[in-house]
């Protein structure tokens, strides 16, 4: 077969001994079988018999080759071996397990050839059987090695993924979550749980768990005898391989392992610091994972587990630093924000309210501020889940007494942090905060809360001082303005109105005054002191007294103001105060007035339009740059004239130019020409500035002389009746009408007006009612006119009684329904 000219190796070599062909067949290094085409054994060699333990007689003529195979082999024989052999006449290296006489199986490799007769018909099968025991072993080993390599690679991949996840996890919570996900894919663990060490509170916190084997998810002190705490302290991996081991080392695990059907638990400390230095390492947490069935971890797996612990520890450390930084930034922002927000409000209650609202839900789930201020103290609360009342009261008392904050451990009474609110060394009150239940204590939190309480304490103390000063100033102002104004003289009537500025402002220095210089000379004044608060209030009081002292018979407004200038030169806080001052001779209705920097008085005579009194103007009191030559102006007013003095709060509006303000005031004053004097000032203030105004408003309205005829026009509104009655009563008194007639006229007039409102204007809320009263020596007559439509008035029982009363109390009653309704009522005056 070789053309290379070398020795012909096919040439039969002479063997050094005689080879007996039979012996060669019987003891060949492989088994030989000859079978019929149906597989019945006809010849078999000794090697096969030795391997399988059969006797030759058992097989030859009795068994087919397929009978010797395992059940799987028999199927393979039918489906592959036999058809292949028939088609190809030979098969090679087919693996069969031969069942030996003693039931063992012998792994073999089989080659067979089909011999055919001259007609091509199958005659015999020759089969050669090789012992494949060792080869199968190698294969298994190979498979095992491959599987191990695959497992390891998978673990590495899982670990790589975890490490990548850890690197991307910025917060402790996310790190914990990434670590928690690792044991199942990496080691085939059934479940896992993670615990983090809270050094500040000396506890181990159960963060998250799918694992019932290591406990019930409760936090525990670091000194706990439980397995997790022990492993955290030792800082070294611990594998609890079985229940027996658990019993021996960590009895606390036995029950939970048994209950959850776990047989192996791995407790892995998550550490940071140098890997090779156990002492320098710091345990930041513990990862626990468990297996059903006893699971032995290979050395390689244990190395990987440890590696996971170190990676996770480092990620935790980094995340903690990051969390810490972020938290501190958050705190700083919160402190600045809260302080600024508290500064926006001046009042104490408002600040206390805003403080608790800022706490919930940002810092706490429940917050309360208690201040020992005033007779009842202040209590503001926000959020839900208030702590137990008795425990809290006890804690509050302790904190108030000691002035030191109370940070109870988890589960300890009163279940909330109590911080003293201190300012200038005094405990003003307390701030109590209940943190969210799942919130872990974080380093520096106590410091933050203490600082928060300090700032809040200062803000609240400032508000309290503000409140105190404001109260004093208001009281002072009220007491100064409360003095009785002259009244009871039919020749004039004075009405005043003071409206304090919107809530958060301090008191202003607006004031009014009216006093009799002599029996026939009345002085009225309205002024405004620069500034606010107690200083303004006291200065206002001083100026008011100074005017009363300076005014006198024969002095007059100009000289009075000069005296006031001298006064102001000595009382600096009164400088630049403004005053409108007028004196009225009640006998002649002569008005003399002067304005020192103040808005011009407004006068309304019975006929004509209102006029601003623009003469006799000079600079504010004590002015250095202004014209201080004080002059005065005199004019005579008709009886029934009204004079209005006011402060700038009445007409100055940010949204309206001042000349527009004067215009509106004149118009509104004119519109109310016939309105009752009582309530006029308040109504003007209401119309011009409304309720929610920034500045104080002060008004003084003087009505001069007794009207012979009282003419009033009122809105069809129930509240107006009382105002009209007051005016009418004063008018009747001023004309000397006796009490019985007076009461009768008041009753009849009220009923007539009520009828107009109830019936005439039942469908018209904007209707007006005119009332004209005249008085003679003998009688009083009142006319009440409306332009409404009366319907069914006379049949109405209640109103019927009203009409009845009118008839009973007056001597003569006439109804004129030609244009609206006019009731004319007359009653004779009683003998004086």
């Amino acid at each position: 077969m070789s053309d290379s000219g070398g020795p012909d190796v096919t040439q039969e070599l002479r063997l050094p001994w005689d080879e007996d062909p039979d012996d060669l067949y019987e003891h060949a290094p492989c088994g030989y079988l000859t079978t019929l085409p149906d597989g019945t054994v006809v010849k078999v060699n000794q090697t096969f018999l030795t391997w399988t333990g059969y006797q030759r007689a058992d097989l030859v003529g009795h068994r087919r080759f397929r009978d010797l195979l395992s059940s799987g082999g028999q199927i393979y024989y039918e489906t592959h071996y036999a058809p292949l052999l028939r088609i190809q006449n030979e098969v090679h290296e087919l693996a069969f397990d031969v069942v030996c006489a003693d039931g063992r199986t012998l792994p073999t490799l089989v080659n067979s050839m089909l011999a055919r007769g001259p007609e091509g018909e199958p005659r015999a099968i020759r089969t050669m059987v090789f012992d494949a025991t060792e080869r199968r072993g190698y294969e298994k080993e190979l498979l095992f090695a491959r599987k191990r390599a695959e497992d390891s690679e998978r673990r590495i991949q899982v670990l790589q993924q975890v490490v990548a996840d850890l690197a991307a996890a910025p917060t402790e919570a996310e790190v914990a979550e990434a670590v928690l996900r690792a044991p199942e894919p990496a080691f085939g663990a059934v479940s896992s749980s993670i615990y983090l060490v809270d050094a500040e509170r000396d506890t181990i916190v159960a963060v998250s768990s799918t694992d019932p084997a290591t406990g019930d998810g409760d936090d525990m002190p670091r000194s706990s005898p439980r397995a997790v705490a022990r492993v955290a302290e030792r800082g070294d991996l611990h594998v609890v391989g079985s229940l027996t081991e658990a019993k021996e080392h960590f009895p606390d695990l036995v029950d939970s392992m048994r209950r959850s059907g776990r047989n192996t638990v791995v407790l892995l400390p998550l550490t940071t610091g140098p890997a090779d230095d156990q002492l320098g390492a710091q345990t930041l947490g513990v990862l626990a994972f468990s297996f059903t069935g006893e699971r032995r971890l290979s050395d390689h797996e244990l190395r990987v587990v440890r590696l996971l612990g170190q990676h996770a520890g480092q990620a935790l450390d980094r995340a903690r630093l990051y969390d810490d930084l972020r938290r501190r930034e958050g705190w700083a922002t919160f402190l600045a924000e809260t302080t600024r927000s508290l500064d926006e409000l001046h009042r104490l209650l408002a600040r206390a309210r805003r403080l608790v609202d800022a706490m919930v839900p940002e810092i706490a789930v429940w917050a309360s501020v208690r201040l020992s201020v005033g007779p009842d103290g202040v209590l503001e609360e926000a959020g839900t889940a208030a702590p137990d009342g008795d425990q809290l009261a006890d804690a509050l008392a302790r904190v108030t007494a000691s002035g030191r904050p109370l940070f109870p451990a988890p589960g300890e009474a009163p279940g909330c942090v109590v911080l003293p609110l201190t300012a200038r060394g005094r405990v003003l009150g307390t701030l109590s905060l209940r943190m969210a239940p799942d919130r872990r204590g974080v380093a520096g939190e106590q410091h933050f809360l203490t600082e928060l309480a300090d700032r809040a304490g200062l803000a609240l103390e400032n508000a309290r001082l503000y409140e105190q000063e404001r109260q004093i100033a208001r009281t002072l102002q009220r007491s100064l303005l409360a003095g009785r104004l002259p009244s009871g003289d039919a020749r004039f009537a004075v009405e005043t109105y003071y409206q304090a500025g919107a809530q958060d402002l301090e008191v202003g220095g607006d004031w009014f005054d009216a006093f009799l210089i002599t029996g026939d000379r009345l002085a009225v004044a309205v002024g405004d002191v620069v500034g606010r608060g107690i200083d303004a209030a006291t200065t206002m009081g001083q100026l008011r007294s100074a005017i009363r002292a300076l005014a006198g018979e024969g002095v007059g407004p100009a000289r009075m103001l000069e005296g006031l200038d001298r006064f102001v030169d000595r009382v600096e806080s009164a400088r630049m105060a403004t005053v409108a001052y007028a004196e009225v001779d009640l006998a002649t209705c002569e008005l003399t007035y002067a304005c020192a920097g103040h808005l011009p008085p407004l006068v309304q005579e019975p006929a004509g339009s209102p006029e601003f009194l623009l003469d006799a103007r000079s600079a504010a009191l004590g002015s250095r740059a202004g014209d201080r030559r004080r002059t005065e102006h005199t004019r005579t007013l008709a009886a029934g004239s009204r004079l209005l003095l006011y402060t700038d709060g009445l007409i100055e509006r940010r949204t309206r130019p001042i000349d527009k303000g004067f215009e509106v005031l004149a118009r509104e004053f004119a519109r109310r020409r016939d309105a009752p004097l009582q309530g006029l000032s308040a109504a003007l203030a209401d119309t011009l500035v409304g309720r929610d105004h920034a500045d104080d408003v002060c008004l003084l309205c003087l009505t001069l002389g007794t009207e012979e005829r009282m003419e009033r026009s009122i809105g069809a509104e129930r509240m107006q009746i009382a105002l009209l009655r007051a005016d009418l009563r004063a008018w009747l008194v001023s004309h000397g009408v006796g009490p019985e007639t007076r009461d009768a006229v008041l009753l009849a007039c009220s009923e007539a007006v009520a009828n107009s409102i109830e019936h005439g204007y039942r469908d018209d809320p904007f209707g007006t009612i005119d009332v004209v009263a005249t008085v003679t020596e003998d009688a009083v007559e009142v006319k009440v006119t409306d332009r409404g439509t009366w319907r069914g008035a006379v049949t109405d029982v209640a109103r019927g009684r009203g009409l009845q009363l009118i008839r009973q109390s007056m001597d003569q009653v006439l109804f004129d329904r030609s244009d609206g309704t006019t009731v004319t009522m007359r009653r004779a005056r009683e003998a004086e």
Partner: protein, 117 residues
Amino acid sequence: MTEMTDQWVRFSRIGDADLVHLSGEIDLANAGEIGRAIVSRIRESGKVLIDLTTVSFLDSAGVRLLDALVGDLFAAGKRTRLVVGERGAARMILQLCAFRQDVLATDLDRAAAELSS
């Protein structure tokens, strides 16, 4: 809104009777509110004295209110007196309206004693 009516009506006890003290001007504008305040307080009372001696003005709406109050108390079998003094606005108008003399009283203590007897 009880506090809005506080300036016109106050409540107290005299002996075993409830005392309703009215003052100021009672007219169409406030009679309804005052009536509601009184009814809510005397619902459980057995005896009621209504003191009108410091009422400075009473109009027909006030008369209607008093008439309704007294009528309801009588209907419920309760005893009541309106104390109006010797003179004054309330007496004048209640006389004009011809209130029964046995309902009116001039002296508070005597009226209280009458109710108890």
